[in-house]
């Protein structure tokens, strides 16, 4: 749990980056995988970047700019980019991370390495 906190190194921004908000995230685990689900409304599939660097998982999503030629009558949200970084626990199979985007919700499946999955030990009857 503790090592799933965000790290400060990634919260430092470069000047060329657009402002980004932290998406709301759910994290679940079972014996086979970690499941990370994030709300990223407005972000298209090709605006998504999911990267693993050392032990850090970063989710970035670019939302398109508002269409030009419109004047705003009501503005309750601004289409912003999303960015969030987690420290991954050890034993994640980085080659097989699966990402799915559906209705503005990003679902990441991070499988655990085979060797680290709990195994059921059969008891031999004598």
């Amino acid at each position: 749990m503790a090592n799933f906190d965000k790290v400060s190194s990634r919260t430092r921004e470069t000047v060329s980056q657009r402002g980004a908000v932290s998406p709301r995230v759910d994290v679940y685990e079972n014996e086979r995988e970690l499941l990370v689900i994030a709300d990223v409304p407005g972000a298209p599939r090709d605006g998504l970047t999911i990267s693993v660097d050392k032990d850090e998982l970063t989710i970035e999503a670019r939302a398109p700019e508002a269409a030009p030629g419109r004047s705003a009558l009501l503005t309750e949200y601004r289409a912003s980019d999303y960015r969030r970084t987690f420290v991954l626990p050890g034993g994640i199979d980085r080659e097989h991370i699966d990402a799915e985007l559906k209705a503005g919700v990003l679902t990441l499946k991070l499988p655990k390495l085979e060797a680290l999955r709990p195994r059921r030990i059969q008891i031999r009857t004598a």
């Binding site: 749990m1 799933f4 906190d5 965000k6 790290v7 400060s8 919260t11 908000v21 932290s22 709301r24 995230v25 759910d26 994290v27 679940y28 685990e29 079972n30 499941l35 689900i37 994030a38 709300d39 990223v40 409304p41 407005g42 972000a43 298209p44 508002a66 269409a67 030629g69 419109r70 004047s71 705003a72 009558l73 009501l74 503005t75 309750e76 949200y77 601004r78 985007l101 209705a103 503005g104 919700v105």
Partner: protein, 142 residues
């Protein structure tokens, strides 16, 4: 050997984490409890009004959009639960159910209203009624 500096790093990490949590808690546009939900933008695009609302995780078929005179009502929701067999580390995404009505500033043509739901954002385009559409007046050469 570098333990002294590590302590500083750790403190800054905690501060950063705190700042982020606070930012999220105070972010007004993405609030769900109380306030107005869903977060909505309304634009005037000349011949039409365009309304957009952030609705991540909503099933398109379960969205109800009705237009009565100049009042547009959008209703829907999403149910969330712990996926079966998983334990929970964190749950920041709330389930929600909502119904929100918008009084439109001008008369619209109900026959020419189009809604689409893409990437978790609902976009309703409401063509203005002919009598309120901006009209271009040509200047006759004399």
């Amino acid at each position: 050997m570098f333990g002294y500096y590590d302590d500083f790093d750790r403190t800054y990490q905690l501060l950063d984490a705190f700042r982020n949590e606070l930012g999220r808690a105070l972010e007004p546009s993405r609030a769900v409890a109380g306030g107005t939900f869903p977060a909505t933008n309304l634009y005037d695009a000349g011949g039409a009004l365009v309304l957009t609302a952030e609705l991540p995780g909503v099933v398109e078929k379960e969205l109800e959009i009705t237009l009565t005179q100049d009042v547009l009502t959008v209703a829907g929701g999403r149910k969330l639960g712990v996926p079966e067999g998983y334990s929970v580390y964190r749950q920041e995404r709330p389930p929600f159910r909502f119904s929100r009505s918008y009084t439109l500033p001008v008369k619209v043509d109900p026959e020419k209203t189009v809604a689409r739901f893409e990437n978790g954002v609902l976009e309703v385009t409401l063509e203005k009624a002919p009598e309120v559409k901006p009209r271009q007046i040509d200047v006759r050469p004399s």
